[in-house]
Symmetry: C2
């Protein structure tokens, strides 16, 4: 019996190398997002916007760092060296009742979307053209996972 | 006997939370950098430039993704769906005799430098102001490690 040949040849596809990645809703709690980023040491989270035109964006850890800063440092950076009582309490107070939508910068990063059947060359073309660290992989309208630039480099070296 | 009090109080300092991070020379091999990024799934590498004015820069995984692309795809992105024989061989051929200096974009990311004695509020102020995912921590002129934005968020939640 002849081996069943996959419909698109033996090339590695986006769906083969996609990894699970925390995806959060833009209306979920911002402090939860900080905890998720901190616990898993992630560079960013995929945020689903609920819009069909631009369904995903990225919230990076760097974008949340300003919420560590006490108000007096935001007004006068020279005061950053002063010691504060509890940084954690300050962060929780500033973010506790905010949603991700509230803390997202107005200029959002769009996350490119590729199909699970796309080849890694197609993935690389999209990532390179849009200068993105991250691509969402979608199958039948559902996010199957993401591919980071370093994951893609690893897959390219293996193929 | 009274406890010895650290010179700057009990606050967490940059040196306390700095993590080891691969630092490579700008004159080292580019393929080695790709392998390092791929193996450790890093977003980027700290590149030492040897210049006193701007000692560190970052080479991100996303900046290297274009070297996965065959020449014909760079000329015509519509050809990205074509199957190639071996992506890995192509990448090795394109990067094997190049240095990191050769593949760095002309517009480089500067890595902010903080002192090991700086507080995490000072760290957050620098990272937020320069919108950087990464800060190098220096003690007596030597790099002690780096602090990523997510590491800083984790430290802030613990303090």
């Amino acid at each position: 019996m002849a081996a069943v040949r996959p419909p698109h040849g033996n090339a590695v596809r986006a769906g083969d190398i996609a990894e699970e990645f925390p995806t959060v809703s833009i209306d979920s709690n911002a402090l939860g997002a900080v905890r998720l980023l901190a616990a898993h040491r992630l560079t960013g989270l995929v945020v689903s916007t609920g819009k069909s035109e631009n369904p995903f964006t990225v919230l990076t850890a760097a974008q949340l760092v300003r919420f560590i800063l006490p108000g007096y440092v935001q007004e006068d950076p020279a005061l950053a060296g002063m010691l504060t009582e509890s940084v954690a309490d300050d962060v929780m107070e500033r973010l506790g009742d905010k949603t991700i939508r509230d803390v997202m910068p107005s200029q959002r990063h769009r996350v490119p979307v590729v199909d699970a059947d796309d080849t890694i060359i197609e993935l690389a073309e999209v990532m390179s053209r849009l200068d993105s660290q991250l691509v969402a992989v979608v199958k039948d309208g559902e996010v199957q996972g993401v591919v980071t630039a370093s994951r893609l480099l690893a897959a390219a070296l293996e193929q």
